[in-house]
Amino acid sequence: MSETRLPTWTEVTPGGIVREPGSTLRLDKNGWRVEKPVIDPEKCVRCRLCWIYCPDTAILEVEEPYTNSKGRTYKLTYKVDYDRCKGCGICAEECPVDAIEMVPEEVA
């Protein structure tokens, strides 16, 4: 998914200027992880703390209604963007209801 080729000398911008903002989004961080966070939407109380604390913008806050087994409907759902996640586990550590579990990555 990511283009890792470096620019050649004819393509290098003057002064090494990077013209595309936020271009690190094209880089793939899947290889950094040993464990991956998995959010349980049942247990999650939508407190937003994982989204706040994540250093890698790997927690996504999406407007997707979710009704849990007790019949309570939440407007938001939290998901993990595994291309950004480095598996640090801050989200699982800080989750007040233990809705995030760190699952070991499998060897392909």
Binding site: P21, G22, L25, R26, Y53, P55, A58, I90, E93, E94
Partner: protein, 327 residues
């Protein structure tokens, strides 16, 4: 508190969902610098120019030819961040005077430096910037050492901490000097706003960023950034360690607005510093009497702050149970 500031960030839900500091950067897993920079740019918005000193954040967020920043950003040497930020601010004013830039347009200039680039190498440029009174917000992310070059000590390394240049042996047992008081140095220049913030208290932190940005003239925000690599703790504990720093009184969240000091996170009962130290490998060598010395230093700092506020905002140490010292 009555103040001239207009705070948009009332609680956690006030933070906008859109990001200007993007993921995919090369900061270590669990590095809280990512959290700090994300929220800084959420507060600052897109009309911002970021001036970044060499340091962890600079090295890891811009692996050429990529950048994690969604705003204009310039990389500088350690020593001239504040000088270039001054120049950027002066250039914006000049363009406004010449009519090449809308005079109503508000362009924020934010200088970001690590503790090495601020406490040690960039101190003279910072002093000059504050002396000349440029309208620049200076953010210090303090990981208490030169972490990206291999954990060397800096002026911000606290007493007792192991680093590669303050090793633990028979003659030396970690850093033997105290941490510099950068906010004290900044206040000596008579700047209108200075604050100490912590990413474990995000609302407090973003409110300080907001105030610093809205301040006319130089402002400084000193942010604690727990470093998983250099402090030797597990990546998942970044926020927990930052929180414990406040709960034990090692770090005090306060702000100084026009000379008035206010503690923004009061701690009625402090935890013993041992709880903060025991999580970190850089303090693993400490013996009981050294922990006692650190506890006394923290007590002293808390007492000083309480005296400045005029009442007890940070409480006494609560050893729990029988009230005996020690674990």
């Amino acid at each position: 508190m009555s103040s001239a500031y207009e705070l948009r960030m009332k609680n956690i839900w006030s933070l906008p969902r859109g990001e200007l500091f993007h993921g995919g950067h090369n900061l270590c897993a669990g590095c809280t610098a990512g959290t700090i920079m994300r929220h800084l740019l959420k507060v600052a918005g897109k009309d911002t120019i970021v001036v970044n000193a060499t340091g962890c954040v600079e090295v890891s967020t811009t692996p050429y030819p990529y950048t994690a920043w969604g705003v204009p950003w310039i990389h500088l040497a350690f020593e001239n961040t504040a000088a270039v930020a001054s120049g950027v601010e002066a250039a914006i004013n000049a363009l406004k005077l010449k009519g090449q830039l809308d005079p109503e347009k508000e362009v924020k200039v934010i200088a970001i430096g690590g503790d090495g680039g601020t406490f040690d190498i960039g101190l003279q440029a910072l002093s000059g910037m504050m002396e000349r009174g440029h309208n620049v917000t200076y953010i210090v992310y303090d990981n208490e050492g030169y972490m990206n070059t291999g954990i060397q000590r800096s002026g911000a390394t606290p007493f007792g901490a192991w680093t590669t240049t303050t090793p633990v042996g028979r003659r030396i047992r970690g850093e033997w000097r105290r941490k510099k008081d950068i906010i004290g140095i900044a206040l000596a220049h008579g700047i209108p706003y200075a604050a100490a913030a912590n990413p474990a208290y995000p609302v407090d932190m973003v409110q300080k960023f907001e105030k610093a940005i809205q301040t006319e003239g130089p402002s400084l925000v000193h942010v604690l950034m727990a470093c998983t690599t250099g402090w030797r703790f597990e990546p998942r504990l970044g926020i927990k360690v930052s929180k414990l720093a406040v709960e034990t009184g090692v770090w005090i969240n306060y702000e100084i607005e026009e000379g008035r000091l206010r503690v923004t996170t009061p701690v009625p009962k402090r935890k013993p510093v041992r709880e903060y130290l025991k999580l970190q490998g850089r303090f693993a060598h400490l013996r009981d009497f050294e922990i006692e010395i650190i506890q006394e230093m923290v007590d002293e700092q808390v007492e000083r702050i309480n005296k400045m506020v005029g009442k007890q905002v940070i409480g006494p140490v609560d050893y729990g149970g029988d009230g005996k010292k020690g674990a």
